[in-house]
């Protein structure tokens, strides 16, 4: 069964445990700036919205990579960056219309959510279940997917 990250912003308190867990697990540092999930603060409304890669079917990042450094993990469906192959050209960071691929100037490579090989640290760290790890067929990801399809409609024409 493939699973997805399901985010419920209404439950987020802005504690940033997810960002700490993500940056520590993936980059070895407690540094939100190196986290692949980010909590956005709508301070005028007192709301927090965690957001990260939805592993979208369009895979703009993967399609844009000039050196084949992004591939699909068959087990999780995650689009995963190979640190060995990535040259740091950053084209994927402008190609991703969700802004969820970022350049890490320390490593000279790009970073994005890889679903932690099927055991995402952010979901484990979240104390309020604002980030859930659920059956991919169930989630409210449709909202995100709708917007994925809207970007560049027509350039995504596929074979029928």
């Amino acid at each position: 069964m493939q699973r997805s990250l399901h985010i419920v912003p209404e439950l987020c308190t802005g504690c940033l445990q997810c960002e700490m867990a993500c940056s520590y697990d993936n980059e070895g540092v407690f540094n939100p700036a190196k986290s692949r999930i980010k909590v956005f603060n709508f301070h005028d409304q007192g709301r927090f919205v965690p957001y990260t890669c939805t592993q979208c079917a369009e895979a703009w990042c993967m399609m844009a990579c000039p050196v084949d450094a992004i591939s699909v993990d068959a087990a999780t469906g995650a689009k995963v960056v190979s640190d060995v192959l990535c040259v740091g050209c950053k084209v994927c960071t402008i190609a991703c219309p969700f802004g969820t691929v970022n350049y890490n100037s320390t490593s000279g490579k790009v970073i994005k959510c890889d679903l932690c090989e099927g055991d995402p640290e952010c979901a484990k760290a979240c104390p309020t279940s604002a980030i859930q790890w659920v059956d991919a067929n169930w989630t409210g990801l449709d909202r995100m997917r709708t917007w994925a399809a809207k970007t560049d409609a027509g350039t995504q024409a596929t074979a029928h």
């Binding site: 399609m63 192959l85 024409a157 074979a159």
Partner: protein, 414 residues
């Protein structure tokens, strides 16, 4: 079906792979203009800076990739096309019959008409061969003059700085990356480069490159205004031109590039064009040669679907660029110059080398430019290309243009 693809850059390779996906039995020939397996020019600067070796530039890493897909990969340069006979002729005389032809021949570097640019020690930086030559000459401490501080020039600049050469950049326009940066952003880039020890001469023209006299020795580069300079290596990055001369007499309509419709078809039946050589529909309206990787990938895929009769329509890609100039990252999207009577949002932090400018048309973002920001920049594409109606967020962005991610989430997810 006999599919023939001329040009083995990203567009040609993606077209060949897409054809194989939708046509299991079609005969696919991919013709590369340079020896060796298909590689990505975009990776050349990283080869020059030592981050990767030549194999790191390959578009597909598996040596058997093309054989495994039953794609015939051959080497050759196109000489002419006879559409009536559906025949492509290569230099050397070999004729290749096609039912459907894709022209993905890209572009070549051009040298401006300056005396001496044909001397040894003067190189363009476009092909793998160019890169090898520069790799040999750009040694630590060498005097290097880079002509052109456009997009390509600035990418090479990065690699040359990494190679610790003594670098001077000469740009005829009044700022760096004039087609991607406005005056404010261009000035910031120049200041950054100078702080990194690069000499940047804007509004300056190279007038001649001469031998210093003893043959094989250093070159002497004359500029106007300014004093002549010594150079062990001169790199020319003043622009590229579409490779389409071989289509002369074929009836294929060309302008800046090969003009294609929303199926990536040219004006001649059975001939398609894709990638840097194609002048295709632009997201912001009209036709344009983009010469960027994401557009090339889109072109290759959609052209292939149409070649195989799958009827895919193309609504035009968004022009966008990302550039790392000696560690200062900048990006531009769409119509960053804005539109007549349109609103803008701008924020500059000169000391922190951070700049952002958003261009609006009514309620929509139509373009953006940023320097020194690498977090979530892709969402600028999302905001523009999804045509997000910003509502109250337009005023918020005008107050703080860095809140692009919040604007996107508030309007699409939350």
């Amino acid at each position: 079906m006999r599919y023939v693809i001329v040009g083995a850059g990203p567009s040609g390779v993606i077209a060949a792979e897409t054809l194989r996906k939708v046509d299991r039995s079609g005969d696919i020939t991919l013709i590369g203009g340079e020896p060796g397996p298909p590689y990505s020019r975009m990776a050349i600067p990283y080869y020059l800076s030592g981050g990767i070796d030549e194999s790191g530039t390959l578009i597909r890493k598996d040596a058997d990739h093309y054989d495994a897909l039953d794609i015939r990969y051959v080497h050759g340069l196109a000489e002419s096309v006879a559409p009536a006979d559906r025949r492509l002729t290569l230099e050397g005389g070999e004729a290749i019959a096609y039912d459907s032809l894709l022209v993905a021949t890209g572009s070549s570097a051009v040298r401006p008409p300056v005396p001496g640019l044909d001397r040894p020690g003067v190189h363009t930086c476009w092909t793998m061969d160019d890169a090898r030559a520069i790799h040999d000459l750009a040694r630590e401490g060498a005097d290097v003059v880079l002509i052109g501080a456009g997009f390509i020039g600035c990418i090479i600049l990065e690699a040359l700085v990494e190679r610790r050469v003594n670098l001077t950049v000469v740009e005829v326009e009044d700022r760096m990356v004039p087609r991607m940066m406005n005056a404010a952003a261009g000035a910031m880039l120049k200041r950054w480069c100078e702080a990194k020890g690069v000499r940047v001469l804007t509004s300056t023209r190279v007038t001649a490159v001469e031998d210093s006299g003893n043959g094989g020795g250093p070159l002497r580069v004359s500029v106007d205004p300014g004093a002549p300079m010594r150079a062990d290596l001169v790199v020319v990055a003043t622009g590229v031109r579409s490779n389409m001369d071989f289509l002369d007499g074929s009836g294929v309509k060309t302008a800046t590039g090969i003009v294609v419709d929303d199926r990536l078809a040219t004006s001649v039946d059975g001939i398609y064009a894709a990638g840097d050589v194609a002048e295709g529909p632009d997201f912001s309206g009209g036709w344009m040669v983009h010469a960027i990787q994401p557009t090339s990938a889109d072109h290759g895929r959609i052209a292939a679907l149409n070649m195989a009769g799958r009827g895919a329509r193309y609504q035009g890609s968004l022009i966008m660029n990302v550039l790392d100039t000696a560690g200062l990252v900048s990006a531009s999207f769409g119509k960053w110059q804005g539109t007549d009577g349109g609103d803008f949002a701008e924020a500059a932090d000169e000391a922190g080398y951070r700049y952002i400018r958003l261009a609006f048309d009514g309620d929509h973002l139509i373009g953006a430019l940023c320097v020194g920001r690498t977090e979530h920049v892709g969402v600028l594409r999302g905001l523009i290309q999804s045509r997000v109606a910003l509502g109250a967020w337009k005023a918020r962005l005008q107050a703080d243009p860095h809140r692009i991610m919040e604007a996107y989430l508030a309007n699409t997810q939350a």
